[in-house]
Point group: C2
Chain length 706, copies 2
């Protein structure tokens, strides 16, 4: 039984975009007075609960339930006024085409067929004014219910609804990098909500609320543990943890979300006590088959394994002289009988490089490793490819693996948690960055062969075994994401995986209205803040696509040479004359040639290479003139002075909203923006000082450099 | 009852310089056959035990004991052959002038008076061939016994002994930076031997062996916990830990070593529950008095408090607007009735400096803080001053506080643990460095006013309340110091505090003979390795006295800009034209003017400033020509190429000793030297590459720079 949303939860930001605040001036549509459902289904039950909760909160009136047969649906008793349980004035009818004849009758057969497995239709019945939310599956209905609530939350016109929505990407996944000791790798919002002291949490309330957030944004899959699978986490696939994991999975299942595990490739040895984890060893294959059997006994809709193998000191098939296809296929065979997937990460490179070696190029590694294996992976294997060739920098080119693997299932991997983009202490709305990646043209089937068409499977005719994954940015902080405004990245990620055609502005607008309400001043100001923020962060950090320049290990704060003499393959090669990495085929590492025709030409040529990626592809003198007309060195100075100033303006913009916002919300964001302002000044001064000292070239505007 | 020294202990290096290996060709002097003692005293008992142990091991013959009255001395029973208990052929007579008439008779009154409180005399009785080891105190006798054993160990001529030894420094102290969780701040040889899991160790065997090592080197005081006093350690002064601490202190007492505690200045609040730790608050003063009373009840010879206050975020009198004299004197008053001392560290500086601020100079801080307080400290307060103004770098000038505080008790602080000098993975024999400091002329009372005369009290007429302290380099590693050859630093430190006139060569020779035996090839090779090692380490690390260039926090390995943009006040200011810190009075921070006359002139002038400190005092172009005739940049290249080569030669020199050394000893040192060789190459390449990239000036010899 849901109560009113508590004041504490609201003030902390816990309710996020499901706050359901009353829209000023909006009156309750009559069809909100009751909800009609006939099917007994746990996902439909989630939809009913959410509609009830939303409507009760939006309109201060609890809808009645119309049940036409006994099922899961509960009788409601509550202290607040209950709407008359009638169909006068209409109601919300929810259900599947197959399971509810009334729902089925509202649509033609063609309309039903146009609705994808996880899609939905919402339609106003002009006769009785009721609204039907319908899908092929309960999942689709749940997404439809959230859509209907979003319309109500954002004050949209709900008079005559007739909508069809189908998700673009089959897999819309979240990767938790949570460790069982309760820490989160690259987590910036407190501890894990999944684990504590090497046990799985018993707090299913918080897990359920997370599932609500994910489902409301359209997500349908989750890997519940860190891809770096340590000792305790290796036991997740055993009886020790499967009962608790099964309870977690049940919560997610009731919101249409399938659970995956990250596994340790050395599990046959470390868990199974075998002498080897060689994928071609029959004992190993058999061990994995038995393991899969146990997992599916506990979690019938288990999604599969997420695997980081032979990467950053993790074990993998290389130890046995096997390639990644052999390594992944063995696991795929174990999962295949149950419909499980192997999601195999392509983040494989030499992390013990000698900094003196200028020919080895980490950017090349994923392509060099995986391109030769195209076509060798089983049908239930998906390669998960980071958006860029390096590691979630504020600016990178798109990975050349997209477009290079026609005969292999691929997923795109983003990072919502802001490892290299300000760690949720700086504002950085990432949807614009992700859209650039999704819209990138690979030329794999000629012009217009975009990354989003590879992710959604349309370009190479894949279906089901593709999509998008991203590393979560949530933790135990009351507001989930540390920086309240970073909630927009989780929301935006979900919306974008559902429909990559949505604009960054449109998503921001939805999120702001749902989170902060309909105050137009707030909407305009926060929208501007979000949309400017990526460019601002980029402008005061590493210049022109060269990346890094952060403190080692934790990756926060400026350190120009932080990775320059390290083993990580992440260099800028700045000297007194110039800077940048020559990745051309002509004289460089040859990385530029991993792209297809027009992109190779674009990046290979100093003339055509876009400014923002110049130093990723070319080593140039500080006096090189950009397309912008500025020299490289003057661009560094200008962008850093301006960037720090624009960061300060973000804070000022926010401060103008003081009277419009609740104090608790205003203050918590203000504190982050104050830190960002100060820290952007650190970035400005360190980067400018470094390059002034190194180049000896003064700022033409004679601003202060130390 | 001591057994023969076990093979395990010998092979690991546990016995260190008290290994007492038989000297080939040496026969036992007849007077070794028995030991005569009359006084019942625990320190004399330690002397007897050590003589017994040493002689038994050296000559495979256990001496008999001659007791002339019943005291602490035990009857011996042993399985090895026991020497005939007679005085035929002489014996070793040990005792104090006051306590043993036979001892007294062996010396004139004048001779007795020349013997200082902790001094000793050793004399052969020409009539009966016996040897008398005598002192004013049992401590002196113990030191004499170790001296006698050293003579036997090193194969010295012991035919006609007539020695007088008085220690130069009243306090000869070791500071343990051990935490009660078992970690050691800046420890490179395993965990603490004092603490584990927030308890004091019960393993008094290891503590006793440490006390033996310290006493054998002449040391007489120990602070048993880290100067950074954390939560648990703050309780050391309470009933919770005093009983166990008292047992520790008893072990040290039996080797003539007084125990000190490092205390938390905020103890009245954190331990006592008071609202303040203000030194002028009567309640606070009273609390400390009561605390002192409790401590002395548990440890009657307690030495006093070592205090790091208002330094690196530690609490102190500044919090209450009081100065360091007020802060220290209050504690001194609490300890005064018991003869206790307050040792107050002068390592006070702003550790939150803005790197942009080029006028603030950490090097100035100790002098600026303490010079105005000269004469204001109580008689039982001693200021403990690090040898240099920064922090134990491989090369620093001597702290200008030496010579500046005529009316204040001072102690000199060295660091045996190799925080900035290779962390016991690189070889760095520090005795030559310490000798340079001790011999430094401050000019405080005109020419010849050396630091050693300030430490020993002679220059300003102090007695008793002065001396030398150093941070220990030992831990739970079987060989105490991680690098077996680093034992020489602990030994050398003790010997030097006893007698600063000893040469680095002489000390090395003693240590090598005691540790490795009398093989002349080994002695020559290891001696050369030790004596070259400081210069080698300096040559491939930070150049020309500028310091730092290490990785932050752990301080290991090269990182030229590691501290350049930090808050720690440790900068080199390298740009494309030059490098160094201008600390002159003319245009710089004025630090050079903190010295007295001739030294200010020496450092102030670019012409006279010694090459090895050039960049500490001056910012110069890379093309500046050193006294050596090289430019600064060429010096950097040359010293780094040569330094790495010389590091490799250390290894080769050691490898030539393979046949001369026990395998276990050979191997453990070889592993360290292999690492040093490889790591010196890292230093060479990073430093050279950094400066080549920054200056653009090529190596005239065209060697490989990356």
């Amino acid at each position: 039984m849901y109560n009113y949303i508590s004041a504490d939860r609201v003030q902390s930001g816990y309710e996020a975009w499901l706050r359901y605040r009353p829209v000023p001036g909006a009156s309750m549509p009559e069809w909100c007075a009751s909800i009609a459902v006939t099917e007994a289904d746990e996902i439909l039950e989630s939809a009913v609960q959410e509609l009830e909760r939303g409507i009760a909160s939006l309109f201060r009136l609890r809808p009645s339930l119309i049940r036409q047969r006994t099922g899961l649906i509960r009788e409601y008793t509550g202290s607040i006024q209950q709407a008359a349980a009638t169909t006068d004035g209409g109601h919300i009818l929810i259900g599947t085409f197959a399971g509810n004849p009334q729902v089925r009758q509202a649509f033609t057969e063609a309309e039903q067929e146009q609705t994808a497995e996880e899609g939905y239709r919402i339609r106003t019945n002009v006769e009785d004014g009721s609204v039907t939310v319908a899908g092929q599956t309960a999942k689709g209905v749940l997404y439809g219910a959230f859509h209907l609530l979003r319309l109500l939350q954002t004050g949209a016109d709900v008079q005559k609804l007739d909508l069809l929505e189908n998700p673009s990407n089959p897999l819309r996944m979240i990767n938790q990098w949570d460790n069982m000791d309760g820490s989160i790798e690259r987590g910036y919002a407190g501890r894990s909500i999944f684990y504590k002291n090497n046990e799985i949490t018993k707090d299913m309330g918080r897990i359920r609320d997370y599932a609500r957030l994910l489902a409301s944004a359209g997500l349908n899959a989750i890997a519940i543990n860190n891809v770096n699978v340590h000792r305790v986490e290796s036991q997740l696939i055993t009886e020790r943890f499967l009962p608790d994991a099964s309870r977690l999975a049940a919560v997610f299942r009731s919101y249409g979300i399938r659970t995956f595990f990250s596994i340790n490739y050395a599990s046959p040895i470390e868990v199974g006590g075998l002498a080897t984890a060689d994928p071609l060893d029959p004992e190993v294959a058999e061990w994995w088959k038995q393991t899969a059997h146990k997992i599916y006994a506990a979690i019938p809709d288990f999604g599969g394994f997420l695997v980081k193998a032979d990467s950053e000191n993790r074990p993998g098939p290389f130890s046995y002289g096997r390639n990644h296809a052999e390594g992944a296929n063995m696991l795929a065979e174990a999962l295949q009988p149950y419909g499980g997937l192997v999601i195999w990460r392509c983040f494989v490179y030499n992390c013990k490089q000698d900094w003196r070696d200028r020919s080895t190029d980490r950017a090349r590694a994923a392509y060099d490793h995986f391109k030769p294996l195209d076509g060798l992976f089983h049908d239930n294997v998906i390669l998960q490819v980071k958006n860029g060739p390096m590691d979630f920098q504020v600016r990178e080119p798109v990975s050349p693996l997209f477009g290079a693997m026609e005969r292999t299932n691929l997923m795109l991997e983003f990072q919502i948690t802001q490892e290299y983009t300000g760690q949720q202490r700086h504002l950085c709305y990432l949807v614009p960055q992700w859209k650039e990646v999704l819209n990138f043209d690979t030329y794999a089937r000629g012009k217009g062969s975009t990354v989003k068409q590879i992710a959604d499977g349309s370009l190479f005719g894949k279906s089901g075994t593709c999509g998008i994954a991203a590393v979560s940015n949530i933790g135990s902080d009351a507001n989930w994401t540390g920086h309240l405004l970073a909630q927009s990245n989780l929301y935006g990620y979900g919306r974008l995986t559902w429909n990559p055609e949505l604009s960054a502005e449109g998503i921001a607008n939805e999120w702001i209205r749902m989170t902060f309400g309909s105050n137009e001043r707030v909407i305009a100001a926060v929208s501007r803040m979000l949309l400017d923020s990526w460019s601002i962060y980029e402008s005061y950090t590493a210049p022109l696509g060269v990346g890094w320049m952060v403190n080692p290990d934790h990756h926060y704060g400026p350190n120009v040479d932080g990775y320059e003499y390290s083993k990580w393959g992440t260099y800028h090669f700045a000297d007194c004359s110039g800077i940048g990495v020559n990745r051309t085929a002509a004289g460089g590492t040859g990385y530029a040639a991993q792209y297809i025709g027009p992109n190779t030409e674009l990046y290979e040529s100093l003339e055509s290479c876009p400014d923002e990626l110049l130093l990723f592809f070319h080593h140039v003198p500080y006096t090189h003139v950009l397309h912008s007309g500025k020299t490289v060195i003057q661009h560094i100075y200008d962008s850093h002075f301006e960037g720090a100033e624009r960061a300060a303006q973000l804070m000022e913009t926010w401060m103008e909203l003081k009277e419009e916002l609740e104090e608790s919300v205003y203050q918590q964001v203000l504190e982050r923006l104050e830190h960002q302002t100060e820290h952007a000044g650190e970035w400005r001064d360190m980067i400018n000082t470094y390059f002034f000292r190194k180049s000896g070239i003064p700022d033409v505007h004679e601003r202060t450099i130390y």
